[in-house]
Structure formats: C-alpha cells, structure tokens
Symmetry: none
Subunit: 131 residues, 4 copies
DNA sequence: GTGGTCTAGACCACC
DNA sequence: GTGGTCTAGACCACA
C-alpha cells in the first residue's frame, strides 16, 4: 500500500492555471505574471514555476516572447477545455461509474440530485446579484 | 495555495478497509488480521493500525473480543455502504456537477458514456466466466 | 496527580472476606480455608493471605487455633456489620452527599430511584424462586 | 478475583477535567492548557494528553482551533453535568442501594445524615465568608 | 497469542 | 508557539 503520494507541485500548479483560464480569470492572449512574481505569490521556488510554464507552453496553452514575458495562447481557453474534457471522460467518468455501481446508485437518482444542484446554484447567483 | 494535502495514514487505511468490505473481500462477521499482522502487511507501525481499528470500531464497522482479535460487525457491509453513499452524495456529487458545468457537458452526454461503460463491464464479466 | 493507586492486595482480600461473612457465605464460628488453600484459590502468594488473616484476627473477625487453623469469630457477622456501617457513614456518605450536591440531585429524587430499585430486586427474587 | 483494576490514565485525566469543569475551575469557552503544558503539569507523556483531549472533543466537551489551542465548549458545564448525572444514576446508585440493603440502613436514616451534612457544609461556607 | 496503554522522540502543518 | 501524526519499543491484562 502506498501512502502520501502527490502529483508534483509543478503539475498541481499547471492544473491551477488551467482552472484560471477555464474560469476566465486569465483570458486568451493576456500577459500573465512573470515566473518570479508567480513564484512569490504561490510561495514556491521560481524553478518550479519555470517547469510549470514549460509544460504549459509545450502543450500550447502558453506562448513565450523572449525578453517580454509569458502570454496565454490565442485559443487557450478552448484548448484547455478540450484537454480537460478528454481527461474527464477518459479517467474520471469510469471511476464515477464504478462508484455508482458499487454504491448501487442508479443514473436516474443522479438526475434528481442534479436538478437540486442547479436550483441551488441559481439561487446563489441571485444572491450575488443582490449584493 | 495548498500543496501536500494528505489524509493521515490511519484514515487512508480505514478507507482501504471500507473498500475491502464493500467488495466482499472481508465478509460480515469474519475475523480480520490481527493488529500486528496487518501492520506488517501494510508496512506501518502497529500503533497506526490500532488507531485505524479503534476508529472503525467506534463507527460500528468492527467488533472486537479482548485477547481474541477483531471481527467485522454483523452488518458491516450495509453500514459501510450507507456511510459511503452519504459521503458520495454530500461531497463528490457537487464537485462532479460543477465539473460538468465548467466543461459544458450536459447530463444526457453522461448517459451515453454510461451505456458504453455498462456494455464494457458486461463483456468483461463474460470473459471472466469463459476463463 | 496520582494514577494507578490501589489498596494493597492483602487489604482487598480482607474486604472480600468481610463480604463473604456479611452475605452468610462464611458463617459465625466456622472453620475457614487454610492460608495455603485460599492462596491457591485466589491465585495469590501465601504470604499475602498470612497478612490478610493477621489483620482480620487483629480486628477480631477471625480466631486462630494453633495447629488446627483459622475460624470466623463467634460474632463475626455482627462485628463486620458494625465496622462496615461505621466506615460507610464516615467515608462513603459524605462523598455521596457531595456528589448529590454537585449534580444537583435532591434527596427526594433518590427515594424515587430507591423504590424502583427495590421493585427490581423483588422481581429478581421471584424469578429465582421459580427456577 | 480481580486485583489491579485501573481505568487508563487518559480516561482518569478526562474524569479530572470533567470535575474541573463541574466545579467551575475551567469555565465555558475558556482556553485551556496546551497539550504540552498539561503533560508537564500532570507528569505524563504529551501523547496521553492528546488522547484525553481527543476523547473530550469527541464527546463535545472541548473544541479546538488548529495552531491556537483547545477551549472548553460553550455549554461544556451543562454537558458534563448531564453526562455525570446519567452515569451516577445508572451505575453508582444501584451499588449504593445494595450497600444500604446489606448494611440494613433504611433510607430514612440517610436523610438524618443528610441534614447533618448540609448543616456542616453551611457552617463551612460561613467560615469562608469570614476569611 | 490477542489487544490496550504509555513513553520517548521525531517531523509536519498551521498561525 | 499550537495540535496532529507516526514510529519504536516497552509493559500489561486477558485467554
């Protein structure tokens, strides 16, 4: 049995940046924080960020202009969305379905909970608007 | 940002035992490995297993008889199933649904994948029978 | 703070013998087990029993006839009863009363529970007779 | 026969803390000694105190804030009082009543002693006020 | 043999 | 500083 297994920090940060892009916090083509700045913000060694940015550049999510800085790619959001969807369908769905099977929860029950979830989400949005 | 998020080993082992019971590897009322034996098998300190077993006894999943050993409770499987279902609905479903929303996957699409999953599972079972 | 404090075993055994006499299991003037026999029965070092019998002889509960053995005194039961009553009133009652005070339980409430206790005891006796 | 009957130290300390709360020495919501400090004070291993505090937190008597310390719960005193009353009525009263029966002390006699006890207690209080 | 408790000492995350 | 966890090793009671 294996305990205390993590994905490496630089990959955790890559996932974090994916989420920033998906949620529109970093928009397509925008200039993003320098390696040094992000390292300070996340309280992490700059080399870790270097590695993260390299991975994201490799996969096409980020562009680099030497001497200027890093930018999100022109279609970063679509690209990340596609990537996450594939990963979700290939790895998360099977584990979800096997949970449903073991726990003996039919798909119909899921739909019920889904409607409740959507109603809750909506009422929260309304609250936010009122603020 | 949070890196290094673990649940403690003794709880990871508790979860592992839940799965053993759910999957019928440990059946209701059966004698289970002694503290020392399981500690050797999982390569942890006996005290860690003591703590795991104490938690599971507290929640009613295990019984024990001093000087004899630990046993799964008479209705251990039902109890664990109930517990896991509650936990699944309360904590995993919301995160699933929010993934669906972010990834823009309608519930209907899930059903399609579900049917594929079930067919695959069935064909695997048939293979097993053929063995 | 003091943990793990016991009365010495020889005194615990003295109390045990008091109870035997009070409950009529050892009657007045009866010959009682030899030091050696009682030591075996209670799984205790014979010297411990020697000490117990010495204490009980000192307080008048036991008599010793050299070469023959130990006997309960002619009025052993009355003597023990008197002793226990005194001890009860002097040491146990105050602690009981202070519990009642701290827990805010009026004496009247005690009477209620007492009646319940007596009824239970009686019904148990009836069961015994039926046997 | 059973000699050497202890409750474990961590439970003895739990009982000791119950008393501190009942007697108002630790008041509701108050910060209590750190694990290490109490361990030093009671001359036990810190892990023993950890276990005691865990038990008391489990039963709702204590709260804690990570990195800050332990606190008595907002209604700790009421909670402990309720717990102790139940335990007193269920386990101590029957043994009291059976003592009364064996010693042939009628309940009325108890009342006499009770009045004496109350008078003594009152005169002690007056002394305290005079101080 | 079993589990239960306790100690000593270490390392970690949080504040 | 705080609590939380884990290890190593010891001793105990029960069966």
């Amino acid at each position: 049995m294996q305990f205390n297994t993590h994905s490496p920090i630089y990959l955790q940060i890559a996932g974090y940046i994916h989420d920033l892009i998906l949620n529109g916090i970093w928009t397509d083509g925008e200039r993003i924080p320098s390696v040094r700045d992000l390292a300070v913000e996340l309280e992490v060694n700059p080399n870790t960020i270097v590695r993260t940015y390299a991975v994201l550049q490799e996969e096409g999510t980020l562009d680099n202009q030497r001497g200027i800085g890093y930018f999100t790619a022109p279609h970063a959001k679509d690209l990340v969305l596609k990537k996450k969807r594939e990963q979700f369908i290939k790895t998360e769905l099977p584990s979800l379905f096997s949970s449903l099977k073991v726990l003996d929860i039919p798909l119909e029950e899921l739909e019920t909970y889904y409607r409740t979830f959507q109603k809750d989400a909506q009422s929260n949005e309304n609250k936010d608007e009122t603020k």
